[in-house]
Symmetry: C2
């Protein structure tokens, strides 16, 4: 029988058992030059070896005097000093000659002539004089144990005469990627093969946290080989990570190997993604089996390995920045699993709003585009509309307050606009979520974004968006900013091998169509075209198979998963398929009229009106930009 | 005439003028291998070169089936599949054979015997199947321009077939330390010489922010040499930093040189410390003259150079973490200067309380010991009691809520205890501020700390601390935790060259004493001893000269700045001076009785009671630890 999951445990229990075991584990200490110590952690307290300054020094640029000679000086009765006899110039840090006991700062000194100074305020003894050891005194503790050495600590250490410090070595990690289906990034991909990149992500995370990692070659699903690699790694490394091979798949030997070599502490944690993680010990060292799904591997790396890397160096792992965010829709989640959900974030009406991304799919890309990871607790069946939940912010996305969110239909020019905003180093980021025109308008209505992107045809009047806007937003005042006018048409394979020439060809038995999802403007258009030609949708093979973006549909045709799809010309160009033009349509950015004054929107409009940017959009293929940036208003005036 | 300050400007104006000039400046771009790109910033958008997956893949470990064959399956009417014919095992990521269109996860499959599977729930087409390009689609933008590449971005880039990316080069910085008084850290220090460490701090800061820096040799105060070094640097570097030479001292040529070579944008900013900074441009490149005082150099580096280093790489500089903190005392500050004040932070009664450190003095060490930098605005004459002001948190001190603050008299065993807490990786940090016994009790009363450290003799009763506690805290219930009993006595030079044997020797004309500050327990003791011997303080030469810690007083004697001082034995040992025992005294940690239950206090007491720690304390010299850790209560019962 195949081995299914072991007893899964809650995240809290897994953390307790795992970190409980390795809490006191540290790397060896080593002595290094103090100048190389910034960012490392002291393994013992460091005490000053000398005092500084080691002489009475001036704390100011000014003149050194005897304080008793300044008594009674005032605006009315200034006191004069003979240069070089009764007073001498000193700069900050200069030794104060032993017959003087105070320094008057240069701003308060009048140079009368070449031979006298004048002052009009008395000073007390030791005024502006740094005493011996004022900065540091020999024998004092400069930094304690387990202290991460900062730039200014370095200054204090050098000042105190320290040349070497004892620090914890960087934790050594060995990463062992396993799996017959994996190949290196530089290989040509055969069907069924996947590029191995988990090891590289994990390696760079470990580096960021202060560890060092080496990766073995990709090990095939061979029990003996995996076992030998683990045994070898445990001898020479602080942490061993086995990639993939932790779930219930038929080639997953890791669990069995770890049970034999040491002790499996945890197999299976109630989190999603990331459930099938293995936390084990071999020779009192941690060995972790990470699932192969990239998000699962990544999440477990952040949950379990990050803290270890820090504690091995004697550090507490810093808290990841978190915010509370509200959802404006129901978000179902499986009870009994703590879910980590990628979300976009934006601030609307002084609230941080989270919009969940689709689960599972588009793993890496959607993480790259996400602003944070929402945590839905194990004991919750999800969130209701207007519930709040904590969101871990992704690095460099801390400035979510300035995010401008656009939800709606996908258009290739949007990426270009997003990039232009980034190039300008403006203080905001354009967040784009591709969900289809109708879903975009609904998101705008729910208050999940500032902008919706739509190209919704009204078959009765032939207008774009207006009819739908009035229906959805009633007499609310809405603004439409024209993004582009663009060509829609059929994607077909290069050279048109199946000889598709009109919409009626889609009825042929040898033709498989691929459609767009419900609510997508392009699907509305397709239904309109079918209706006009009096074709029943049910007769189109593939009508129910859906892709979510133009480019995904075009790629599907290019790959031969389908013979035809409807979409914009620019995607045909990107996906290298042929294109049969069908019609021209308008794509608008839609927002509440009151938001036209938002400086981010104003900047966006100014970009759209720039000739050079319009030219770049046209270059994508099938676009007209005469009306790009034009604003129209609908609704209650 | 000597050149005094130019027109000083506000910090805001300085930032505007300086960053306004260099806002668009970037380093060159270079193509690097994608695996080395994490942490660097894309100079252009990156588009996917391939789709992934490039085949229909299983999203689960399970069995692949035809979805139509699962219709109607239920608990009562399970559906059976013949192994390898009607269903096949697939692992996550495996290609789904082309005659199947759904995957049922392994947990939902019953293996009846060697030849059949059973399921009890139907699935729809494409269930658990990842479509082609689901993760990434060729031609899509993966990351935009000016995006800092993160670990998971790396995964997405590799998956999308990216091998090289264009990133901004690390900004190249040249640091030119100048000054006749400066020597390298490995030199023997002569009188008037200072160790040059500013360049090393600044170099490590720049490294942390993503730049790379090289430092020239220390350049003497020679105009020609400094000028040549600046000219040479500007040719090959993005930023040039001249250290020292920016104030009004007589050897400060930097200003003059920069006026000749280019344009001085700002000389003098209304901040403290850090006023005499020079911000200039030479050949359209930034050249910054930093003041020599380490805190000034450091602060200006953080204010002006940090942001440049980021923007040169195409990045916004992240906000430094800040909190609002309350002061429990009046904090005067000069109007017209934005002051940056080192503070300790602790949380008391759900408020973050800031305690300012002494200005100017003990520069580096007090920064190392500080938790943050309080900003007092230019238009304020300081803060009144219970005012709040923003505090920039120092790296790794983010967990200020857990700080346990101790203010009071200095004792060497406290460093040791602080270090022991650090070693235990407990979740709190023991913050120690040495200000003298009486000042500690007043701080405790004001609510600035949880613990005061005191050894205040009551000359009338001979008791320690009790009389003062009753007077200051009235009938409030207070707890005293005995830290140590310790020897007090006179510090004298090794070998007692001046033949000091009793307190009356201090009356001798050839003997200079050095005293402790008012409110210090040791000063109280000295006054008591003088009184007992019927000696008038005014007759002691040096009675008014003050040091702030035992060890500073001992060092002063060791260096010959004074012939005698009163203090604890442990400091005599550390400072290598001789010691004439005079009396034994008790040093207590004092707190409000209600705080005895605080787990941090409980842990502290448990440490004090440990035999091994008591032994370490005794080793410091002059300590008895029989009563260490004992608790007594005074006040209203």
């Amino acid at each position: 029988m195949r081995k299914i999951y072991l007893d899964k445990v809650s995240l809290d229990e897994a953390k307790q058992k795992f970190f409980g075991k390795f809490h006191n584990l540290k790397t060896e200490a080593e002595e290094i030059e103090v100048e190389k110590a910034v960012g490392k952690v002291s393994s013992e307290a460091v005490y000053a070896r000398r005092s500084a300054p080691n002489f009475y020094a001036s704390a100011m640029d000014g003149i050194a005097v005897k304080s008793e000679n300044t008594a009674g000086a005032s605006e009315r009765n200034p006191v004069q000093f003979k240069k070089d006899k009764e007073a001498v110039f000193v700069d900050t840090g200069d030794p104060v000659p032993s017959d003087f006991d105070a320094v008057i700062k240069i701003e308060n000194v009048v140079e009368n002539d070449d031979s006298t100074f004048e002052i009009n305020k008395g000073v007390s003894p030791w005024h502006n004089i740094r005493s011996i050891g004022e900065s540091v005194v020999k024998g004092e503790m400069i930094i304690p144990s387990n202290h991460k050495i900062r730039d200014f600590d370095l200054g204090a250490l050098i000042e105190a005469g320290i040349k070497k410090v004892a620090v914890y070595k960087k934790p050594a990690v060995k990463i062992i990627p396993t799996g017959n289906e994996l190949v290196n990034a530089d290989s040509e991909l055969k069907k069924g093969q996947l590029v191995e990149f988990n090891s590289k992500m994990i390696k760079s995370s470990i580096f960021k946290w202060g560890g060092r990692a080496k990766t073995t070659d990709i090990i095939p699903d061979d029990k003996k080989m995996i076992q030998n690699n683990i045994k070898e790694s445990v001898k020479n490394n602080d942490i061993t990570i086995v990639l993939a091979g932790s779930s219930a798949g038929k080639e997953d030997y890791t669990l069995n190997i770890l049970e034999n070599l040491g002790r499996v502490i945890i197999h299976g944690v109630n989190i999603m993604p990331g459930k099938p993680v293995i936390l084990a010990e071999v020779n009192n060292k941690p060995v972790i089996g990470l699932p192969g799904y990239p998000l699962s591997a990544l999440l477990n790396n952040y949950i379990f390995i990050r803290k270890l890397i820090y504690s091995l160096q004697g550090l507490k792992s810093p808290e990841l920045p978190e915010v509370e965010a509200k959802v404006k829709r129901k978000v179902p989640s499986e009870i009994g699993l703590e879910e980590f959900l990628r979300v976009s974030l934006t601030e609307i009406n002084n609230e941080i709003i989270a919009v969940p991304k689709k689960r599972g799919s588009a793993a890496m890309k959607s993480l790259v585009k996400a602003d944070g990871i929402m945590r839905i607790a194990e004991n919750k069946e999800g969130l209701s509309k207007n519930n709040k939940a904590p969101v871990i912010l992704l690095e460099d996305k801390e400035n979510i307050k300035n995010n401008l969110s656009l939800i709606g239909s996908h258009d290739l020019s949007l990426d270009l606009i997003q990039d232009e905003i980034q190039k300008s180093i403006k203080d905001f980021y354009l967040n784009i979520q591709s969900v289809g025109s109708m879903a975009g308008l609904m998101a705008l209505k729910r208050g999940e974004c500032q902008l919706a992107g739509a190209h919704l045809l009204d078959p009765e009047t032939g207008n774009y968006n207006l009819t739908h806007l009035k229906r959805i937003f009633k007499d609310k005042k809405m603004a439409l900013i024209t993004l582009v006018e663009r060509q829609q048409g059929f994607y077909i394979k290069k050279g048109n091998p199946k000889n598709i020439n009109s919409i009626s060809d889609l009825l042929r038995k040898d033709i498989a169509f691929i459609n767009r999802q419900r609510g997508a403007g392009t699907r509305v258009l397709f239904d309109y075209l079918l209706n006009k030609s009096e074709i029943e949708p049910a007769k189109i093979s593939g009508y129910d198979q859906e892709e979510f973006t133009h480019i995904a549909a075009a790629i599907a045709v290019g790959r031969g998963s389908a013979d035809a799809a409807l979409g914009i010309k620019a995607a045909a160009k990107a996906a290298e398929v042929d294109f049969i033009p069908v019609t021209e349509e308008r794509y608008d950015l839609i927002l509440f009229e009151e938001n036209l004054q938002d400086p981010r929107i104003e900047y966006l409009i100014s970009l759209l009106k720039k000739k050079e940017i319009q030219k770049k959009i046209e270059k994508l293929g099938g676009y007209k930009t005469e009306k790009t940036g034009e604003i129209s208003i609908v609704g209650n005036k």
